[in-house]
Structures are given as structure tokens and as C-alpha cells.
């Protein structure tokens, strides 16, 4: 009996010698299940499935001792997981936040495009009551500075401007002008900012109007033109 125990112990040690060097291997982003399959993941509870997917995506790439860089991720699958999560819970802001501030920090325009498309789809659903417009704004930002795709940024900015409601920051409405100014369409940007100024005068805080005039005078107009423009000369001394 003791000999048998000793033999099994030796066998166990042999197995250990083989297994001790085997480590968790990064298998990249897992395949995306169907909507029904994902709900089964949460035992029929869609909200649980959403939260499990959220935690899984947040910790993806961490294989114990190693952490994979974002550029190694299969972003097509990341996009599919994000959209699946969006079907499971269209109201939560967890996955959009993860997409905007974590997956959106990738430098490659191809990979970033998937994230921008997702964010713009989520932001487009803004019904005027929540904060979904923020994800559209984030999409504009990533398209402008990450993808460097100004036509796309302008398209998204135009959509964002339709989401403006009283009580929301005025820059939502001004976003197309910012992109126009960046892409060289100074005339268009000037016209839009001027129209907003006229429309919102007396309705929004003076600080918002001052900020608009400041942008016109410092980012749209050339210094010579700004010096002659009555708008710029009317600015308080600290903003000139």
C-alpha cells in the first residue's frame, strides 16, 4: 500500500514537471455569441449577461502575469461584443464609457473607426432626456483627433448639434463650427457661430456667449480681421 502511494506520488511529480511551465495563453478576443446565446450566459437574465460581458471586456487581455497591448486585440470582434452588449442593455453607459475611454485610446485609425462607429450609433439614440449625446461628442473627438478624418467628424458633429436642448452646453451646437474651422472652412464656421450668437443671445449664460465670441476672434478670424471686427473689440478686457 505504501509502495503504491509512493509510486502515485512520483507519477504526480512527473506530471507536475510537465505542467509547471504551462501558462495561460492569450487567445485574443473570444468569438461573439448570438443574442440568445449571450442571454443564456446569464441564465436567461439579460442584465446579468450584459454585466458579465462588461467585466469580461474590461479585463480582456490580462492573462495573469501578462497584459496584452490594445493593438493586439481583434477590434472587429470588440465592436461586435460592444454591439451585442448594446442590444442586451441599451440604457447603460458602461460599455460606451469602456469604448470611449479605454478601447478608444488605440492609435490605429482602422481599429479606432470601429469604436467611433459604435459610439456614434449609441449617441444617435439620444432622446433628449439622458446623456447619450456625450458618446456622440466622444465619437466626434475621436474621429477628429484619433482617426484624423475631418469629413466624418463633421458629419457626426452635425448630428450632435441636433441633440442640443436648453440646459445642455452650447458647444454641442457649436461642434460643427469647431470642425469646420479645423478643416479650413473658416467662412462656414464664422457664419455658424454668428447664427448661434444671434439665436442664443439672452437665452444662455453670458459666459457661453463670451466663449463663442472668443472662439470667433481667436480661432476663426485672422488677427488683422479680428482687430477690426466689432464683436472682438466688444469683448471684456480679460478675453481680448
Amino acid at each position: 500500500m505504501y509502495i503504491f502511494f509512493a509510486v502515485t506520488l512520483i507519477c504526480n511529480t512527473v506530471v507536475w514537471f510537465h505542467a509547471r511551465r504551462l501558462e495561460a495563453v492569450w487567445g485574443n478576443v473570444p468569438p461573439v455569441p448570438s443574442y440568445s446565446g449571450a442571454k443564456a450566459f446569464g441564465l436567461g437574465d439579460g442584465q446579468m449577461a450584459y454585466r458579465l460581458i462588461g467585466i469580461m471586456l474590461q479585463n480582456l487581455g490580462s492573462t495573469g502575469a501578462y497584459n496584452e497591448p490594445l493593438m493586439a486585440y481583434d477590434y472587429d470582434k470588440i465592436g461586435a461584443w460592444l454591439r451585442l452588449g448594446d442590444r442586451l442593455d441599451p440604457d447603460s453607459n458602461f460599455l460606451p464609457a469602456l469604448a470611449a475611454f479605454y478601447f478608444g485610446s488605440i492609435k490605429s485609425p482602422q481599429q479606432l473607426g470601429i469604436i467611433v462607429d459604435y459610439l456614434s450609433d449609441v449617441g444617435s439614440r439620444d432622446d433628449g432626456t439622458g446623456v447619450k449625446w456625450r458618446w456622440l461628442a466622444q465619437g466626434v473627438y475621436l474621429a477628429r483627433w484619433g482617426e484624423r478624418d475631418l469629413p466624418k467628424a463633421l458629419r457626426l458633429a452635425n448630428e450632435l448639434s441636433t441633440k442640443w436642448r436648453p440646459g445642455r452646453p452650447l458647444w454641442i451646437k457649436q461642434m460643427p463650427a469647431f470642425i469646420m474651422a479645423a478643416s479650413g472652412d473658416k467662412k462656414g464656421a464664422y457664419g455658424l457661430m454668428l447664427a448661434i450668437l444671434k439665436e442664443e443671445a439672452g437665452k444662455v449664460q453670458q459666459a457661453e456667449l463670451n466663449n463663442t465670441i472668443f472662439f470667433i476672434c481667436h480661432n476663426i478670424l485672422e488677427p488683422g480681421d479680428a482687430a477690426k471686427n466689432p464683436l472682438c473689440t466688444s469683448l471684456p478686457p480679460g478675453l481680448k
Binding site: S36, L43, M48, G54, I55, Q58, D91, S92, F94, A97
Partner: protein
């Protein structure tokens, strides 16, 4: 029809079996683990903790009830307690009705403790959503208590009874998805027979996927297709079905 002594006997057995102690331990460990896991989320950690606690404790509570009931009944058969009880002036109907009532009361207590712990994890969650969730959890646990009673009476082994009950629970939780696949017709012709079988099976499987939805706790019940009426009706209908099936089995049994 009912024997209050037997009801009291079952409740005492639950206390002696340390079911309540295990329940409190489960709630503390489950709640703490959910808060720990939820706090790792970059935003909405309170919602993560709430959903993890609600879903985890719901499953753990159902499994706890099933295991206690199945092992209690099988032990009663093995130690000949059932034969002894039936030799007293106690009808078989009273035996089943008393056990069904006692187990339903236990299920109610477990669901109450789980609901209280969920409220403790997130006291600011939607109040009507919490109410509907609590009522549906109680109904679900009562259904599963009667299902465990039925399987424990019908199957000769405690392990088989427990596995069958847990299998029914999982099937009930997945029934919505399975029926969804059947009704959308997204399967090949070869699976038509299976689809038909699933439709027939769904007749006698409770729709547990419609109960205890954690989205009620997070967003309320405005978008829900299920109300208190459905939850209570399903609880009563399935509990009666399962208890009467257990009664038929006991009446036909030869000792």
C-alpha cells in the same frame, strides 16, 4: 387536509439542519463578493454589485432550497419516517399538503432574507422594481420548493432528485431563449421534431426567465412585459401542478 404538527416538524428540521445558518452565510459571502466584483468596474460599480448580488443570491437560494428539500425527503424515506408518519392518523393528502406548505414557507423566508440583503447592497434601487423582484423571487422559490418535493418523491435517489430539480430550474431560466429560437424558425428542417418537442416540454416548464429580472432593480418596471399578476398566477399554477403530481405519486405508491 393540513397537519400543523407536520409543518412545525419540517420547520424544526430546517433549523436543525442549519439551513438558516447556511442562508445567512450565503448572503454575507455572496453580497460581499458581489460588492468586491462590482467595485472593479470602471463606472456604475453600484449597478454591477446589485446585479451580481441579485443574480448570484437568486441562484444560490434556489439551489439551497432544492438541496434541503430533496435530502430531507429522501432521508425521511430511508429512515422510514414516511412510513411511520403515514401509520398515524394522517392521510397521504395531508402529508403532501403539509410538506408543500412547510417548504413554501421556507422558500418565502429564504426569498425574504435574499431580498433584504439586496436592499442592503443597494438601498437606492428602484422601489417598485424591487417590490416586483421580491414578489417574483418568492414565487420562483415556492415553485422550486414544490418541484424539489415532487422530484424527491418520484426519484429514488437524493442525487438524482437534486440534479433533476436543478435541471428544471436551469431549463425554466432558459425557456424564453429556447422558445425564441423555436418561434423565429432559425433552425434547419432536420430539427423540426426537436422544435416541436421543445414546444410540448414548455407546457409544463415554468417561465422562470420572466421572474426575478435584475433589470427591474436597475431601471424599474416601465419597460417590463411582466407584472405582479403574471408572477403570482405562474407561482400558484405551477406550485399546484407540482404538488398535485407529488400527491398522485404518493397515493399510487405501494409501501
Amino acid at each position: 387536509m393540513l397537519s400543523w404538527t407536520l409543518v412545525k416538524y419540517v420547520m424544526t428540521a430546517a433549523l436543525r439542519d442549519r439551513l438558516m445558518f447556511a442562508l445567512v452565510l450565503m448572503v454575507i459571502v455572496g453580497g460581499a463578493l458581489s460588492v468586491f466584483l462590482g467595485s472593479s468596474a470602471i463606472i456604475e460599480p453600484d449597478r454591477f454589485a446589485l446585479v451580481f448580488a441579485a443574480t448570484g443570491l437568486r441562484f444560490a437560494g434556489a439551489v439551497g432550497i432544492i438541496l434541503f428539500i430533496v435530502f430531507h425527503i429522501r432521508r425521511a424515506f430511508d429512515s422510514r419516517d414516511v412510513e411511520f408518519l403515514l401509520s398515524r392518523p394522517l392521510s397521504r393528502t395531508a402529508f403532501i399538503c403539509s410538506h408543500s406548505l412547510a417548504f413554501s414557507l421556507l422558500a418565502l423566508i429564504v426569498s425574504g432574507v435574499v431580498t433584504f440583503s439586496i436592499f442592503a447592497v443597494s438601498p437606492h434601487s428602484n422601489s417598485f422594481g424591487m417590490l416586483l423582484w421580491a414578489v417574483s423571487l418568492a414565487a420562483e422559490f415556492i415553485i422550486m420548493a414544490n418541484a424539489a418535493l415532487f422530484f424527491a418523491m418520484v426519484l429514488p435517489s437524493a442525487t438524482a432528485g437534486a440534479l433533476a430539480s436543478i435541471g428544471l430550474y436551469v431549463l425554466g431560466r432558459l425557456m424564453g431563449e429556447l422558445l425564441g429560437i423555436v418561434y423565429t424558425g432559425s433552425y434547419s428542417h432536420g430539427y423540426r421534431f426537436l422544435a416541436l418537442s421543445m414546444k410540448i416540454v414548455s407546457l409544463i416548464v415554468p417561465r422562470l426567465d420572466l421572474m426575478g429580472q435584475s433589470s427591474w432593480l436597475v431601471y424599474g418596471t416601465a419597460a417590463s412585459t411582466v407584472g405582479v399578476g403574471f408572477v403570482l398566477a405562474q407561482g400558484v399554477v405551477y406550485s399546484l401542478l407540482l404538488a398535485s403530481a407529488a400527491l398522485i405519486d404518493l397515493v399510487r405508491r405501494q409501501f
